[in-house]
Symmetry: C2
Subunit: 340 residues, 2 copies
Amino acid sequence: MKKKRPSLKDIADALNISTTTVSFVLNGKGEEKKISKELIAKVEAHLKEINYKPNLVARSLRTGSTRVLVFMVEDISNSHFSKVGRIIEDISYKNDYRVLFCSTENDVKRTQDLIHLFHERQVDGFIIVPPPGIEKEISYLLENEVPVVLFDRKIPELEADYVIINNFEGAKQSTQHLIDSGYKNIAFITIDLDQIQMHDREAGYIAAIEEAGFSPNILKIPYDTSNIPSSREKIKKFIKESKDIDAIFFATNYLSQSGLKCIHQIDAKLINKLGIISFDDSNFFEMYSPTVSAFAQPVDEMANQLMKIMFNKLKNKEQAVSSKLVLEGTLVTRESSLKK
Amino acid sequence: MKKKRPSLKDIADALNISTTTVSFVLNGKGEEKKISKELIAKVEAHLKEINYKPNLVARSLRTGSTRVLVFMVEDISNSHFSKVGRIIEDISYKNDYRVLFCSTENDVKRTQDLIHLFHERQVDGFIIVPPPGIEKEISYLLENEVPVVLFDRKIPELEADYVIINNFEGAKQSTQHLIDSGYKNIAFITIDLDQIQMHDREAGYIAAIEEAGFSPNILKIPYDTSNIPSSREKIKKFIKESKDIDAIFFATNYLSQSGLKCIHQIDAKLINKLGIISFDDSNFFEMYSPTVSAFAQPVDEMANQLMKIMFNKLKNKEQAVSSKLVLEGTLVTRESSLKK
DNA sequence: TATTGTATTTTATACGTTTAAAAAATCAAA
DNA sequence: TTTGATTTTTTAAACGTATAAAATACAATA
């Protein structure tokens, strides 16, 4: 039996008072608005009795605020993003905000749609991992004074706040570590996509390699096929054909996943001969021999900073301070990067 | 400069027509409502020109529908759930629905809050991995004719639809496979939580073990600590103290993660001596030697069936057919479960 | 010319809240 | 017993949309 949910009006009628009074009590403004103690008590009792739940859609229409934030990432099932998302979710809930997650697949069109869609839905703020080419929509949001914080990548041309990590240093440091461990022919496997953070990682790799007097050896995998067989074939071919490679630095966690699988398929013993570092850490890297070294992003700190900036924007819509954070990651050295 | 978003009224005024006409054209009901071709064209041109975006909050208030679904799981950063979530997200977007993800942490209180919260927000449907003790809230939703589909676990007392897998068979089959591979002392590591799917897995394990004339050897880890050191200590202690164990069957993916790490920490060679099967597959299981056998849930099929049932409910609010699906998983045998 | 029908467009209201402004009630002082 | 001040409560409008019902315009028919 579907019973209509009671509205403020129903309550007002039942108690023979006005909706205004009920609304004031509901929002804890009873005292402030000088509603008499007895009436407040009466209304509160009734609200509790019928277990009243306000219609938040109506409230949003009236107030213009939804208390909903959006967290738009490349792929929410990527553990790096889902971990950050999980923390953001927790912080938001504690502050009485909800979070919508969604995956852009790094596709501009899809991201544009999503941004408009959520903007139409009046969400209060956006945390976005921006795909290349999305500048216009971000500007649009900024112009409309919608709180936006970029994550994982910045857009240099834009005056948007962001929280990213120092990709150049991370990659350089990781590469340097391999060099220090005695590897001489270090390959870099990355994604063929025009994204600033990938460029930075590549640049960091190249910087370290060239400083050491080696020459770069880079394999670029098409983005959209990173998960499917054809790209695995590319990786395998690359590894097999460059016989002299003694170490590999994977530019992202999903590449190291694919890559490790490839290495294993080529020869189960091969992993013991290669130096390996992955950009992005994983739980699984400590589960087998050799344990896998990784450049770990400060997931917790990232999420916390993102939310700090976001709440700041939500509170002081006007005098928002510009917050552009570049955090440092940590190189976690494990067995895979020691000299074999 | 924050410009007020144009409303139907603004458009109507600009064109000197009524909001009704604009609304009809906007919703593609122009012809049906016999608006003249010229006027339709004029309105459409104007809509496009000012790049009009309707206020979906207002629309929701008016229509009572938000075109938002909620996907509530134990932990959205658990890859099993985030994978299913990802597919659900895709299917929903294709059908012009959005999805809210959230994590219940298996906590009744939190889940109750979430359910009410989203119900107040008028979401159109719920897909829920129900924690124990949540019967009342689910009933509440059902009584109010809110579309609900349970996932991963059913609630036997409730007439709610669900999509689950045959946990008993999966566990039995997995255990049987270890037995067939010649293991004689197979331990089962599970979570100490009163959940039907965990009971089923345990029962499946016990059934296979007893049929073979062996005796069960079960370790139960407290739920909320499954990720933290103390539970790892428990697992390590258990493995070390039962010297005669020759195989371990992990009841969930996060347990196999912890467990494999423990095994590695005890002795890097140990994994080569133990038979291992994990309930739930993972990308990482093919990356090292030995590759790890797993009982894989049909992630794709689950997500598709869930959405099929959900859309069915959303369309025919009245004559909803009862849909209770028990899907079968697949045992993926890899090196870890072959006789050593 | 009056009537009917058809095609087109508008008026008016509702959804459930919030809140400024107005009104009513109460009380104290003159 | 009127006046003014204060306290308490209500009226009324607004947010932006959708739609039933009414209204208008126009042509065709009797």
